[in-house]
Symmetry: C2
Subunit: 295 residues, 2 copies
C-alpha cells in the first residue's frame, strides 16, 4: 500500500469515529429515522472529501479536533446528496457503497427524511462552538458550505444532470454540470482549511483553483469507471449512465481522450499549488491518486 | 378586519417581498429548480411563523431588516417541509395554498431538489453578515434553527407521524409528535427575537413556554379544520388525516373536547407572557387568532 493509501485509510477511520460520535444514537420513537441516518452516513466510502478538509487544515496548522468536525459535516452533506440522488424519482440506484441504498433498506419516505436530517445536522455541527473558537469563522463555514451545496451549487448540478437525460449535449455543458454537482463540494472541502486557519484570501483562491481541476479529473475518472468498472469492485450500480441515456465525458470524448484529459487536469491541479511550496505534497499525491484509482 | 388581521396581512406582504428578493431569479440551465423554489416559497400562506419572528424581534427593538431575514429563513424551512411532506412517498398531497403541490406542478425529482435547496438557502441567509452584526448571534440562529428543524425536531415529528398511520396511539404520543413536527419551528420563531436582541436567557424561556402552548393549540385547530373544513377555504387537501387512518387530536378527543383544549392552551400561552408586561399584546392577540381562525 502506498503512503497515501495508508493516510487515506487512517483518515477515513478517524472521520468514521467522529461521525459515529456526532450522529444521535438510534433510540426513541424516531429510531427508524436515526437508524437510516446512521446506515447511510456510516456505510464507509473513501472519505476523499474529509481527507481534503483535513489535509488543507494541516497546511494552516488547524487544531485537528476542529478540522474533524468540518470533515464530518462535509461527509454528511455528501451522504445526504447520495441518498436523495439514489431515490426512484432521481437516479433510482439500488446499490451504494456495497449496500442496498437507503430507500431499499428502509423505505422511500425514510430515505427522503434521513437525507433532510443529515443536511440539517451538518449546519448544526458547523455552528456549534466546538467547531472553532471564533464565531465569524463558523459563520463563514456555514455560508460557504450552504453556497456550495445549494441552488447555485450541488443541487443545481443534480437538476441539470436530470434535465440532460436523453438530450443532446456538449462538453461545455457537462463540465459546468460537474463543476456544480461534484466540484462545488470538493472546492469547499479544499478551501475549508484556509477558512479554519484564517488564511489570506490569496491562499484560499489557490486551493479553489486546485480543487476546480481536481474535481473535474475526479469526475472524468468516475465516468471511466462507470463505463468500464464492475459493480463488485465499485460497490454501486454501474453502466447506469449509459442505461439512462446520459451523456458523460466518456460518451462525448471516447475512453482514450477522456483518460488523457483527466491526467492533464490532475497535473494542472498540482501546478496550481506551486505558491504553497513544499508543504502541499499530500495534495499533489491526491491528484495522482484520483486518476489512478480503480474504485 | 381586526387589527391583528391587518397586521398579519401587512407582515405577510413585507415577508413576501423579502423572499422575492432573497430567492434567485429563475434563469440559466437550472431555471426549472429555481422556478420550483419560487413557486412554493412565494405561494402565499398566512406567514404566521414570520409574524412570530417579527413580533418577538419587536419586543427587543431589533432592526427590522435583520428580523425580516430571519422571518424569511423560517418561511423557507417551513415551505421545504411542506414540499417534502406533500410528496407521493409521504402524505401524497395534491393541493397546497390553493395551488397544485410542487411535484404535481413540476415533477417529483424537482420537488425533492427544490425542498433541499430551500432548506440550504435558509442557513445561507442566516449566516450572512446582513442578518446581524455579531457573528455569535448568527451562529446561534443557525444552530437553533437546525436543532428545531432536524432529527431531534421537525423531521423527527414527520417520521413519527408517518409511522403512526393505521396504528393505535394516544394523546401523549400525538402531543410529542406535534411538539416536534410543528412546535419546534414555532418555538424557534418566537425565540428568534430574543436571540437577535441578545435578551436574557430567562426571557427566551418565557417565549419558549408561550410557543410551546401556542403550537399545540395551533395544531389542534388544524385537526379541527381538517375534520370539518372544506378544501376551497383551506386551499389544501382536507379529510386527508382520516383517509390515511391517522389519529389526530380530534379523533382521540372528539370535536368538543378538542376545541376546549385548544382554548385552554391558548389562554395558558398568553399567561406565560405575564413577566414581559404590556408590550406583548400582539402575541396575546396571536393566541386568540390561532383558535378563532377558519383557515
Amino acid at each position: 500500500m502506498t503512503d497515501l493509501a495508508t493516510a487515506l485509510n487512517s483518515a477515513a477511520e478517524t472521520v468514521d469515529a467522529e461521525l459515529e460520535a456526532l450522529l444521535p444514537s438510534a433510540e426513541g420513537s424516531e429510531s427508524r429515522l436515526l437508524s437510516a441516518m446512521r446506515y447511510s452516513a456510516l456505510a464507509g466510502g473513501k472519505r476523499l472529501r474529509a481527507f481534503l478538509v483535513l489535509s488543507s487544515a494541516d497546511l494552516f496548522k488547524v487544531d485537528r479536533r476542529c478540522a474533524l468536525r468540518v470533515a464530518a459535516a462535509v461527509e454528511l452533506v455528501h451522504t445526504y446528496s447520495l441518498v436523495h440522488d439514489d431515490l426512484p424519482a432521481m437516479d433510482d440506484g439500488t446499490l451504494r457503497r456495497g449496500l442496498p441504498t437507503a430507500h431499499i433498506e428502509f423505505d422511500e419516505a425514510t430515505a427522503i427524511l434521513s437525507g433532510d436530517a443529515l443536511l440539517t445536522l451538518a449546519f448544526e455541527i458547523l455552528a456549534e462552538e466546538a467547531t472553532h473558537a471564533l464565531a465569524s469563522v463558523r459563520c463563514e463555514l456555514v455560508r460557504s458550505l450552504a453556497a456550495a451545496a445549494g441552488c447555485r451549487g450541488m443541487v443545481a448540478g443534480q437538476t441539470i444532470d436530470l434535465d440532460l437525460e436523453n438530450m443532446e449535449t456538449d462538453i461545455a455543458t457537462i463540465t459546468r454540470l460537474q463543476q456544480l454537482k461534484t466540484g462545488a463540494l470538493i472546492a469547499f472541502s479544499c478551501e475549508s482549511g484556509a477558512i479554519l486557519g484564517q488564511a489570506h484570501g490569496h491562499l484560499r483562491r489557490v486551493l479553489h483553483a486546485y480543487a476546480h481541476d481536481l474535481g473535474l479529473a475526479f469526475q472524468i475518472v468516475d465516468d471511466l469507471l462507470d463505463a468500464e468498472g464492475d459493480a463488485a469492485e465499485l460497490g454501486k450500480t454501474v453502466g447506469a449512465d449509459e442505461e439512462a441515456g446520459k451523456a458523460t465525458f466518456v460518451s462525448l470524448m471516447g475512453v482514450d481522450r477522456a483518460r488523457m484529459q483527466a491526467r492533464m487536469l490532475a497535473d494542472q491541479a498540482s501546478s496550481h499549488l506551486d505558491p504553497l511550496g513544499d508543504r502541499v505534497e499530500v495534495l499533489r499525491d491526491v491528484a495522482r491518486f484520483v486518476i489512478d484509482r480503480r474504485a
